[in-house]
Subunit: 418 residues, 2 copies
């Protein structure tokens, strides 16, 4: 296969389809999603059979257990996929809304209309449910999607795509509105990243090496996050019980997510009240602690932290701990070592909370709540395509709105500029 | 001079200054702008003397008259510069506003806080007033600015920068919040475009060759527009008088601006009523007309248009004219040949106006108003840093809001994720 012309063909078809999806009404888009959900439920056996093919290949290639785990579909996860699509059906359609319509001195009325971005390419690994999820979000926001899943999930993804195509077709929308790249050749990703004529935005979802590759090769804007080196800062004016509850939850509720705390900062004035108790909790739960000298004096069995630790997103049962003088040093630490993803302060002092909110330059900043809340569902977006640590366009959890743009609309009655 | 280390130094200082400007309160930022305006007025003679140096060099180099015209400062333009800064003082401070704060089922309250982007680099040509204007907009939006003006304006820009630095210093802000690149070496631009560690966004303001260079070399996101191939479509349900007034104004009010009409599309059903009258108006005003056969049959003296004409942004006394079958063909023409900048429909038919608004994928879409309105001042933004034809982040006229980002802020009372 000539990868370049294959991918260009996909790009052209996506661009053409995007114009039809952009003007589709809400009922049509919802019909496509509902029919897709029905097809997924009806075809559960076919989906599991396709997934079994991928799993057999994965076992034969001796892929990592964690990867195989993410790749595996069950009757339950297939049902959850259909359910996710029905959730997207229930979300309000963002497209076409005109906001901030105001009369100007010239007599024209000027507002902003929410419109689709156009063509969205999503590059992801392992999890086949992303195929349904991403297709649903892109479509509801009026976009065409090009989906490039991992080669290890190719049969699963194609089986899911068949359901999406059936839904699109029976709703009267072009099947090319959602295209799954059918080659597992890695060169296809390179081509995709060069097609700035046909692709408006790339969403890489996966490990750091994938995202770094996309960053290096792409000339197309991205919605992505590289690292989630998230902090909880326990201020000396914190409520001790809240501090312990939040610092425990932020690290231990799930270890491998991007909004999990990786470094705990504790004000010197409160360290002796919280660190010994927290240390015991973490050690009970099997968390390895790496701290500065002041922390180690308070928690027996803590390893010394190196400079490298402050920069590290462990995504594992390891936590770095540092005692800081107070708010200024905490903000400075986060500015130097953080990844602008998600950071929290625990304090009862409103002025300090305000300063933390204003001065910490992260996509999510929380007061007296666990970093684990940084999530599209918890924020009320209904669903998310990912979390962005960029400052431009979409930032933090990205839902339907992040997959749209605003254009200016002007209503006149014959006005001219003088 | 070692350009690379010089530029890196500027970048590092800008990054450091950006953190201080980001947390500056409104009164401090306004004080800096007001003091700058006063310094500019006080120093008018010094500014004109510096400008005279640039002008002498420009004449010696036999630069184009249009360029020399843009380069020239007068007492009036200097006063306008100071006035522009006072206008920015009057604009509401966008920073710190928290919007859409909503309680979520978990009990946390989630909202979005408007925050600065960080460091903005502006690359521009000729007009020295951009130095004051861009510095003022970046500062008010809480950003540090790196300004790289044209080598032909170096003395003027440095003189203006001295006033900005005086204002910053006397307001207690770091002078490095606004830095003017002091070398005219073109390699400095190349360095600037590679400093993605220190620069959050690049705004190229200038001719197409400048913008193409930035597009080619930059790894940093941009606010830019390449072309303004703007259309007016006169529908067969248009009010003839409005149509003539708008099509006249859109082309002839100013020839060289990006929102000037370059192609006129007229529905076949109304062409005989509007084209002969418009043709006479344009020809009276010295506009060269290039049309398709149907247009030429209605307007004597019209040259034939080539395929190339439909793609061309003339920025000159030339207009392309095409008769189309109706709305569908007009939308299709704009999709194929347009530049997604600014397009207008003239019609009394609400359904057709709606379709045009929904389906034309441009940064500004107007109904019964001249394309010349696509402008930050006319849209009520107060001032603009430029017009963006990108769909991501800022689109259309970009004012203070386009120089900011939104971050998520969460207020809890000890909530943890379960």
């Amino acid at each position: 296969m000539d990868i370049q012309s294959y991918m260009t063909g996909i790009g052209k078809q996506a661009r053409a389809a995007s114009r039809l999806v952009a003007k589709a009404d809400t009922a049509t888009k919802n019909k496509a999603l509902t029919l897709t959900a029905q097809a997924i439920e009806r075809d559960v056996k076919r989906l599991l059979a396709a997934n079994a093919e991928d799993l057999a290949a994965a076992h034969a290639k001796k892929l990592e257990p964690a990867l195989i785990d993410r790749l595996t579909l069950t009757e339950k996860t297939v049902a959850a996929m259909a359910d996710g699509l029905r959730q997207i059906v229930k979300l309000p359609d963002p497209i076409g809304e005109i906001s901030k319509l105001k009369q100007q001195p010239s007599g024209i009325r000027v507002g902003r209309m929410r419109v689709p971005l156009g063509v969205i390419a999503i590059i992801y690994e392992s999890r086949p449910n992303v195929t349904a999820d991403a297709a649903g979000l892109c479509l509801k926001a009026g976009n065409a999607a090009i989906l490039r899943g991992g080669s290890e999930a190719i049969h699963s993804n194609q089986a899911i795509a068949a359901c999406v195509h059936e839904g699109l077709k029976n709703a009267g929308l072009p099947e090319t509105a959602v295209q799954v790249v059918e080659t597992t050749d890695r060169a296809a990703v390179g081509e995709l990243l060069r097609m700035n004529e046909y692709v408006d935005i790339v969403v890489p979802r996966g490990g750091k090496s994938l995202i770094e590759r996309v960053l290096r090769e792409s000339r197309i804007p991205m919605i992505k996050h590289l690292d989630g080196v998230c902090h909880v800062y326990i201020d000396d004016r914190a409520d001790v019980e809240k501090a312990i509850r939040i610092a425990d939850n932020a690290k231990t509720q799930r270890l491998g997510t991007c909004n999990t705390m990786e470094t705990l900062l504790v004000a010197r004035g409160i360290a002796d009240k919280v660190l010994p108790r927290l240390g015991a909790i973490y050690q009970d739960k099997g968390i390895e602690l790496r701290g500065d000298d002041a922390s180690r004096n308070l928690v027996p069995g803590m390893k010394p932290a190196t400079e490298e630790d402050w920069y590290t997103e462990y995504l594992a049962a390891i936590l770095a701990v540092r005692v800081v003088d107070g708010l200024d040093q905490a903000i400075e630490h986060i500015a130097v070592y953080g990844s602008q993803h998600t950071d929290a302060i625990v304090t009862e002092d409103q002025a300090r909370a305000q300063r933390f909110l204003r001065e910490v330059d992260s996509s999510s900043v929380l007061v007296n709540a666990s970093t684990r809340f940084a999530d599209g569902y918890e924020y009320g977006l209904g669903a998310e395509i990912g979390i962005s640590t960029d400052k431009l366009h979409a930032r933090g959890p990205v839902g339907l709105e992040g997959l749209t743009s605003l254009k200016w609309v002007v209503f006149g009655d014959g006005q001219i500029r003088t």
